[in-house]
Structures are given as C-alpha cells and as structure tokens.
C-alpha cells in the first residue's frame, strides 16, 4: 500500500456509503436485488476500509485528508483513535441495521428513498466521526439533520409529520447555536485541527468570557442531539419512525453525534486544563446528572415500549457526558466505552421492540405478558439488553458503570456516585417489570396482530439475525473486556493518548 492511497482512506470510508446511497436513490421500487446488493457491497467495503484504518491507528498512525474551504478552516478528515471508536461502532451497527431494515421493510412502499437516506445518514455519521476540526464537524452535523429527517417522516402519517417538524425545529435550532458558537470560537483562535489538550489555552486569560459563551453555545447546540435536559423534547416523539430508524437514531447516529461532539469539544478543543480554568466542567456535569435522573424517572411512567426505551436513551447518553465532564482518566474511559456499549445495548433493545411490534403487533408493555414463550430468542436478547442497561455483570453495561464509578471515586465526586446508584435503581425499576412480564406471566388472550413471518423460526430470519448478533456482542464485550480487541482496551488507548499530551 502506498502512502498516496492511504491519505484518501478517510474519504473512501465516507464514500463507501455515500455513493451506494446516491445510486439507490435512482433505482426503481422493484429493483430489490440490485438495491440489496448495493447496500451490502457498501457495508462490506466500509468494514474492510475501517479494518485497515484500525490496524494503522493502533500502530500509532493518524490519517489526514484536507480540502481548502474557509480561511483558517479547511475541511479536514482526521482518522485518530477517538474517531475510530465511533467509526467502528457506526459501521458495525450499520451492517446489523441494514439487514434488519431489509427484513423489516419487505414489501413496503418507497424503499429506494428509505435506503438512500439511510446510507446518507450513515455517511454523515461517519463523516462526523472523522471530521478533523470544528467547521468540518459542523458541516456533517447539519448534513446528519437533513439526512435523518426523511427517515423520521418516512411513514408519511400526520403523526410522523408532526414529529418530523418538531425534530427539525429542535435540530436546526441546535445546529444554528453550534454554528454561532463555532463562528465565535473561530474569530478568537481560528479552527485548527482537533488536538489532545485543546487549542484554546493561549487565549484563556484574555477572552475567558467569550470562551465561556462559545462553549455554552456549542454545548447547547450539541445538547439538542445528545438530548440534554431542556433540549430532549424531540426524542420521544421521533419514536413514530420505523423501528430500524429508531434503532439507528438512538444507538448510533443522532444522539451519539451529540455525545461525540461533546467529547471532542471537551478533550480536543478546550482541553482538560482550560476546562478547569474556565470552570466549565462542573455545570456540564450537573446538567448531565440531572438528565440521567430525569430520563430514568420519566421512563418509569411510560407504557409504550418504544417510548420507555426513548426516555432510557435520554438517561443513558448522559452517562457519556458525565464521564467526560468529570475530567479524570478513569471516568473518561467509562464515558468513552459507554458510547459503544450503550449503542450496542440500545440497538438490541430497539430491534426487539421492532420484532414484538412486527410479529405480534405488541406496542404496549402490558401486552407483553408471556411473550417469552412465543418468541424466546427475541426475549432472551431483550433480557440481555435490559440487564446490560441496569449494569449487571458480566454484560457490557457493567463494565462502563464500573469505570464510571471508579472515575467518580478517583475524582472525589460523591454526588456522582450517588447519581449512578440511584439511576441504576431506577433502571432496574423500569426494566425488570418488563422481563418479569416476558418470562413469568401467562399470556393474556391472543396477540393484537400476529403474523407468521417464518415457517420454523419465531419471526423473519432477517429480523432475528442482527438482534442475536448484537445481543452476543453485549455478552462478549463484557466477558472479554480485558482483551486487546475489546472496546474497553480501545477506550483506554484513547485516554492514554488524550491525557499524555504534555
């Protein structure tokens, strides 16, 4: 491999989903085989490219690709350890979700449009992960908004259109706040590439007020997608989208984009020292802690499965923010690894919710009684995901909560420890009743709208396979957390690089 070829690797990773997506838009509705092959081709190419990049980054390389754009702010794609964490997560889960979506949407109308935007959405997510400065990040952040909107309104019902409007109002508003913040910061220090330790320290003493303002604006902008407390209103409504979309929105694309942005902002733009000097970490942490408790509390009251999961997302994503805002290395490991773990667990739960809805017509929690007998595999996966969310060993969720707890102790944050314990209890309180209903309560009458999607299996194999794959990952990531290929070891690698800049 020549270095010339390698410098285009970040671009190629984005194009591997963008180009198939653009071709899919032009396909006719009946060209099912061609569409599926294009999708799978894109996924495969992307995974291979990501693998190449992963090997190189592990060995210590960093990839750059830049195009001139604004004065002082080129469009930069940068493949470093942190971006790879998110890239790997989104590529692997894209594979799972694509297969799931093919099964889920079989014979429904407008599939070309759906898969086109689906690929666009993944391209935007990967672009966001790979963007090397704030301006490029902003670009993909907005692109993500635009690419997900058609997915949210895909069903075209009045309800989904209303949700779409609300989603747009929130995310475009957030994007604008981010834009203003980025422009303000750009006028102070330009927009150089993300670098461990940040690049604002030179002007901290001179412009502390403006820096705080810029940070506030950008957190407000990112907080919309990360569903931080007063800005979370779009998320439960966006549940009207088809199940693969909810899965993608919650586990990978939208909420994670916000959380990932916060990580970049804290570590690679402001840096730990400037964050401390400007006293920005404390308010962010408190806000995130409040979101954790609020999300869990609201989840308790929801009777719709997907809505309960949505509020759970609001709460769980803020774990990442809290881990980052504690500014300690151990807490950072917890936050970073939770980015991956939460993604895998939440996508499993959404796949399960989709399976219940598609196979049995079940949408409400009190209709789930006895579903474990009718759909054992789905219910096992759901149980695994739920136990992971609560944080029970040996699932992946335990690992992230363990490190977050350790981090709270290490940085002397008793309050956060209390928040974790209380939220864990709340998690148990809203997930365990579902598990109880699944396995231990007898079925109540017939299912609302049962369909036999497969002769031998409990449902269509394309709906089962991705779910089992991600459920297996939950266990594997927990059991093999200490090996070299686990997300935990990668998070430790990132933290090592982020905290050893001086």
């Amino acid at each position: 491999m020549s270095p010339f070829w390698l410098s285009y690797l970040p671009l190629a990773i984005i194009l591997s989903s963008l180009l198939p997506g653009l071709i899919i838009f032009t396909l006719k509705e009946q060209q099912v085989k061609l569409r599926i092959s294009l999708n799978l081709l894109g996924v495969t190419v992307k995974l291979i490219l990501v693998l190449i990049m992963w090997q190189a980054v592990k060995a210590g390389d960093i990839f750059y690709f830049s195009v001139p754009f604004l004065p002082g702010a080129d469009l930069v794609l940068q493949g470093d350890a942190l971006s790879l964490l998110f890239v790997v997560l989104s590529s692997v889960l894209w594979l799972a979700t694509t297969i799931y979506a093919i099964g889920y949407l079989e014979n429904s109308p407008l599939r070309s449009r759906f898969f086109g935007y689906f690929s666009l959405c993944v391209s935007a997510t990967v672009g966001l992960a790979l963007s090397g400065n704030l301006v490029s990040f902003l670009l993909f952040y907005e692109l993500l908004t635009l690419a997900t909107f058609p997915l949210v309104v895909h069903r075209g019902t009045p309800q989904s259109l209303a949700a779409g409007r609300r989603y747009l109002a929130y995310t475009l508003g957030g994007g604008l706040l981010l834009l203003t913040g980025v422009a303000l910061l750009h006028s102070l220090v330009q927009s150089p590439q993300f670098v461990p330790g940040g690049y604002v320290s030179a002007v901290v003493s001179e412009h502390s007020g403006l820096l705080q303002l810029a940070f506030g604006l950008m957190i407000a902008g990112l907080g919309v997608k990360a569903a931080l407390l007063p800005l979370h209103g779009w998320l439960p409504q966006a549940m009207v989208a088809p199940a693969p979309v909810s899965a993608l929105l919650h586990a990978v694309a939208v909420v994670k984009a916000g959380a990932f942005g916060i990580i970049r902002l804290v570590y690679d733009v402001f840096g730990v020292e400037s964050m401390q000097l400007l006293q920005l970490a404390e308010p962010l942490m408190l806000l995130a802690a409040a979101t954790i408790l609020y999300g869990s509390w609201r989840a308790l009251a929801q009777q719709d499965i997907k809505r309960r999961l949505a509020y759970s997302t609001i709460s769980q994503v803020s774990y990442i923010t809290v881990g980052v805002a504690m500014l300690g290395p151990l807490a950072a490991v917890g936050g970073l690894v939770h980015l991956v773990h939460q993604g895998v667990m939440k996508i499993t739960l959404f796949f399960c919710a989709g399976n219940y809805a598609e196979t049995l017509g079940v949408h409400k929690i009190n209709e789930l009684n006895g579903a474990g007998r009718r759909m054992p595999l789905t219910s096992v996966a759901f149980t695994l995901g739920a136990l992971g969310m609560i944080g029970i060993p040996p699932t992946a969720g335990f690992i992230s909560k363990w490190y977050l707890g350790l981090g709270a102790v290490a940085s002397d944050n008793q309050l956060m420890l209390l928040v974790f314990v209380f939220s864990g209890l709340l998690n148990a309180a809203y997930f365990l009743p579902i598990i109880y209903r699944l396995w231990f309560l007898p079925q109540r009458g017939s299912w609302p709208d049962e369909q036999r999607l497969s002769a031998r299996l409990e449902t269509h194999w394309m709906l089962l396979l991705p779910m089992l794959f991600t459920a297996l990952l939950i266990i594997l990531m927990g059991l093999f957390a200490s090996t070299g290929i686990s997300p935990l070891s990668w998070a430790e690698l990132i933290v090592e690089r982020e905290f050893s800049y001086d």
Partner: protein, 472 residues
Amino acid sequence: MMILLLVLPLLSALLMLLWPRIAPLLALFSAAASSLLALQLLLQVAEQGTRYWLLAGWPSGLAIAWQADTLSCLLILLSTVLQLLVGLYAFATRSRDKLSQGFWPLSTLLQLSLTALWLSRDLFNLYVCLELLGLVAVALVSLSGRKAIKPAFNYLLLSLFGSLCYLLGVVLLYGAYGLLDIAGLASQWQAGWLSNSALLLMSLGLMLKAAIWPLHAWLPAAHAAAPAPVSALLSALVVKGPLFILCLLWLQLASTSQAQAMAPLFAAAGLAALLFGGWSALRTPFAKNLVAYSTVAQLGYATLALGLMLTFDQPLIFAALWLFVLAHALAKAACFLAIGEMSATLGGKRLTILKGASQTMPLAMFAFAVAGGSLIGLPPSGGFLAKWALLQGLWLQGEQLFWPLALVFATLLSAAYVFRVVVLAFDRADPVAPDFAPQLVPQWLALLPALAVWAMALFSEPLLLLLRLEAL
C-alpha cells in the same frame, strides 16, 4: 472584451426582431457566448487588476466610461450564466407553457441592461441602465397575459416613480458639482443639505426598485404573477441592480458622517425585511408568493450587511454582502424554476399541490430543497459562506451580541418557511393519473443552479479574498 459583452446582446436582440423564428436560438447563443466572455474577463481582471474603458475614444469626463473590477465581473458572469440557464429552461418548456415570443428579445435586453449597469460608474449612465432595466422587467411581467396586467401596471408606476426620484437626485448633484462620474464626485464631495437631499432622493428611488423593506410591497405580486422563467430572472438579478447602485452611492460617495447616520436605518430595514418577509412567507397559501416573500427576506440580509458595513467598515462584511447576493441569485433561480415546474406539472398555484411532491416529482423537489438549504445557510452552501463571513466580521468588532442573535432568529424563520414546503412534500402523495410523466430536462435545469450554489464552497477562499480586496 467589455464592448463585446455589450454589443453581442444588443445585436442579437435586434436580429431577433427582424427574424423572430430563430429568436430562441439567438438568445441562447448570445447568452452562452457572453458567459464565456464574462468568464474570460473575470480571469483577466483577477489577474491584471481593474480595467477601464472609454467609449469611442472620447476624453474622460465626456465619454461614457466603463470600469470592470472583480465584483462587476463576478456579477456579469452570474447574470449571463443565469440568463443561459433560464433561457434553456424556457426553451425546454416553451410548447407546454405557451411562452410568448416576446420573452426572447426582452430577456436579451435584460442581460444587456444588467451588464451595462454592473460596468457603469457614472450616475447618469447608471440612470439609463436602471430605466431600461425597469421597463424591460415590466414588459417581462406582462408576458403572463391578462392576469398580470394589474401587478405589471403597479410595477411600472412604482418603477417610474423610483427612477424619477433617482434622476432628481442626479440633477441636484450635477447642478452643484457639474460632474457625474462617481470617482470624480467623491473627490469633491461636501456633506451638506444639498448632498444630503440628493443622496436621500436617490436612495428612496433605489430602495423602491430594489424592494427593500418597507418599500417592498409591489414585489410579491409582480414576481408571483410572472411566468416561471421571468420570476427567476426578476428575483435573481433585477432587484440586485438598484442594490448595486445603492452600495456604490453609500460606500463610495457618501461622507463618513452621512454613512454613519444612515447605517442604523439600513440595518433596521434589513432586520425588518428578514422578520416580516419571513413571516409573510410562512403565512402565504401560494407557492410562488412564498418564494417571492423569501426574496424580500433575503434582500434583508444584503441591506443588513450594507448597514453593518457602513457602521464598522469591515471588508469581511462587504464580502458577506456580495456573497449573499451571489448565493441568493443562484438559489432563488433554482427555487422559482423548481416551483414553476411543479405547479405547471401538478397543476395549481397553491402550496397544497406540493403534497407528496417528493414522490411524484423527486428531482424538482430536491432542487427546491437544495436551494432552500442555501437560503437557510446550511454548510457548505453559498448562503452559509455569506453568513459565516458576516458572523466573522461581526465577532471581529468585539462584543457584539445583538446582531448574531438577530441572524440566528432570521435563519430560523427562513428554515421554517423552507421546511414548510419540504415537510409537505414528504406527505404521502395522492394517486396520480396513469399517464403522469413529468419532464426531466426542466427539472434538471432547476437543479443546476441549486447545485452551483453549493459548489460555491469549493471556491470559497478565492471568492472571499477577491471580494474583500474589492472593499478596500
């Protein structure tokens, strides 16, 4: 080369009158050739600096003087390229839309008057160009037939009144200084009641013609009544002519104290245009009126930038002003062509016909959405570039909070009206007739300027650099 840019449209317009059967071909040919010439001129000027030219070798002061700087060249290129695109669109839809033969010579004359306007630096020349521009524009609006008579007549009266105000100002200045070219006047300029009133009179006329708030009321009716290609030209180019003169007057002629006194008024008018124009675009039930109100709102950005430029004298804000103009011209041409195409194919003027348009006419709807993205200012479109430059210019002035906030609010409004259409398009479509077959070529032609406005991002650095230099 400059002279060729003027002679070519003039000659082809005359030939069209003699030989109406080949008028479309002539118009397209002249637009295409002019585009190439304009590109060459732009490259030349960017390399060698501003070029001056005196008509027929008369000495300066007597002769008609032309001046081609990079801004003029950019604007010429913009007008010729849009002329070509719109001409192609009109050609592709001529049998369906029953476009009058008069469109071809008139649009070529429009190109001539715009080119002459961008090149003139002499108050009387500018008046002549402005007058020609206004008359041609009115004639173009009236091409729609009987329903357009009333808006066209209103437009004519207001346009004449505007020109008259402007002419009165010119006469006052000529009486006092005996000079008409802007550079000469600026060197002898004295702030006083005479120059004050002349400036105000001229500004009144120009603001009326450029539909700057609160003198915009004629625009939505006139632009919505015209045929789609004409609305595209009017919104994209014609209103920019008077705006250009307004900028010349206040940035080059007016003294600092006069400029400072006027600046808050311009900024306030721009903000009001953004808010009221955006609000009206949100309320109107008609598709073309929505786009026309959006023009009023977007002109507000330019006016706001002019006001801020007069206050702060910051080259970046000047660059932002013209970036707004360039981005808006491309985006608005795409919007009008796309909306025109959709209402011609789906039948009807109301917004509700666009229900489900993302399924029935995906290409045209995509063009509208892409152009709308630039109107909102999503990165990396031309509209984003302009907004970025304006924000940077503002932040460089220190602790400015009001104007960035106002910009954010205005952007949200524009997002609201653009997505009002887009959300409607994602509704489930009503079933269409089995022989429903939208034409593809016009839809692609609508998409081209929309893509071009996003492609501006590729040239962002040279554009910003050229325009900033122009302000010094």
